[in-house]
């Protein structure tokens, strides 16, 4: 479409007011204050801060209950190098992503409600197979606690762990399943679309 056509069609657009400068600055301050870690709500020390502790007690698993968003999840870096994830509330995926990155795992996390799935699928053109990169370890339950264990060592530099969690709509229930693969290339953002099939992964499985 050339500029002339666009100009002509602009008459069919609804009126759109300017955002006043003062209000724009106010909204920018709000956004910047929200993204700066120093101004975030309660947050326990980052994994990097705990590195000496990890080194001193290598045989002991360190559990980091991450409280931003209200104890939504917990991640445990275990002595054998695997990571155990427990999700109590399907919220704050960005926090989980950040904390996994703090543990050296570049991950993309999305929660998929019932009746939805991510679009597009597949979200990467370069997923490794489960045999090539066995990210998820089974069985997963540990001491009666429901959760998932993943092995970050299968994710090499420049690769991304894609984690999709299906979310039950039953009150009190949270995550029902996990789909986890390693991508060697770009990963498309998850846009939730209606689905009558299973919610996870390219084939719903």
């Amino acid at each position: 479409m050339n500029a002339g056509e666009r100009e002509e069609l602009a008459r069919l657009l609804p009126y759109q007011p300017e955002l006043p400068g003062d209000r724009c600055r106010q909204l920018k301050e709000f956004v910047m204050s929200e993204i700066k870690p120093a101004k975030r709500k309660r947050r326990l020390p980052r994994p990097a801060v705990l590195a000496p502790v990890l080194a001193a007690a290598a045989a002991v698993a360190i559990t980091l209950p991450l409280l931003s968003g209200g104890a939504a999840y917990a991640v445990t870096k275990k002595a054998d190098g695997t990571i155990h994830i427990t999700i109590d509330e399907a919220k704050n995926p960005e926090g989980l992503e950040a904390d996994l990155r703090g543990m050296g795992l570049n991950a993309v996390v999305d929660y998929i409600p019932m009746g939805k799935k991510c679009s597009p699928q597949p979200r990467s053109e370069s997923f490794l197979s489960e045999e090539e990169a066995p990210l998820t370890l089974w069985p997963v339950p540990e001491e009666g606690q429901v959760g998932f264990t993943i092995d970050p060592r299968v994710v090499k530099d420049g690769q991304t762990a894609v984690l999709e969690f299906s979310v039950s709509d039953t009150p009190g229930a949270t995550v029902a399943g996990i789909w986890a693969r390693v991508s060697t290339g770009p990963v498309a953002a998850c846009r939730l679309v209606d689905s009558t099939g299973a919610p996870l992964g390219p084939s719903g499985g």
Binding site: M1, R6, L13, Y15, P17, Q26, I35, K36, K91
Partner: protein, 202 residues
């Protein structure tokens, strides 16, 4: 280091520059989709919070991040509450604006202006959501077909077909509602009411 690399690496200063550059553009797109100043401000704020959350997905190469932001804004406008929950209900902490005057009182001085704008607004409101999104991105925000396709995660062919349907419906609807007027008068009326795509793209 490019602004893409800097933002991807978590550089808040670069992200602030991104806000300065594109906040008004995102707001304009959000307003077209929501028709409401307060909702558009919510979408604007959440779009940048989402952009920060998703910054590691920014490709190293590529041009302006504006189409990417507008794609995020489109998704946020579809489900603002969900986006708010992703950010720990950030909207609850968003400072509210003082009383916002209705645009009809603020800008439109003449009754025929108000009537015509209302007709355009109603016509736009009759479009399907996907048609509104494509029309707003291509005509309102000035994205190319390929950019709009990437922003919405659809094919270029789908962009073209939705745009074509939207145009057809809008032209028919406005023609039905608006009595014909001399060309000069229509052009003159249009200037204060509808900003051009070129202006929007600065």
């Amino acid at each position: 280091m490019s602004i893409r690399d800097r933002i991807r690496g978590g550089d808040a200063e670069a992200f602030e520059q991104l806000f300065d550059e594109f906040a008004r553009s995102v707001y304009g797109h959000a307003f077209r989709l929501t028709g409401n100043q307060s909702a558009a401000e919510d979408v604007l704020s959440l779009t940048f919070l989402e952009a920060w959350r998703l910054r590691h997905r920014i490709d190293a190469g590529g041009g302006s991040l504006r189409p990417w932001l507008l794609g995020i804004a489109t998704n946020v406008a579809r489900n603002t509450r969900r986006a708010a929950r992703r950010h720990d209900d950030a909207l609850a902490r968003l400072p509210r604006a003082e009383q916002v005057p209705d645009f009809a009182d603020e800008v439109v001085g003449r009754a025929d202006d108000a009537e015509r704008l209302a007709a355009v607004q109603r016509a736009f409101g009759t479009l399907r959501r996907q048609e509104q999104e494509v029309f707003a991105l291509v005509v309102g925000s000035g994205l190319g077909y390929a950019e709009a396709a990437r922003a919405l995660d659809i094919s270029v062919g789908t962009v073209r077909s939705r745009l074509s349907r939207a145009r057809r419906k809008l032209e028919a609807s406005v023609a039905d509602r608006e009595p014909p007027r001399p060309a000069e008068q229509v052009r003159g009326d249009r200037v204060p009411a509808v900003r051009s795509a070129r202006e929007e793209n600065r």
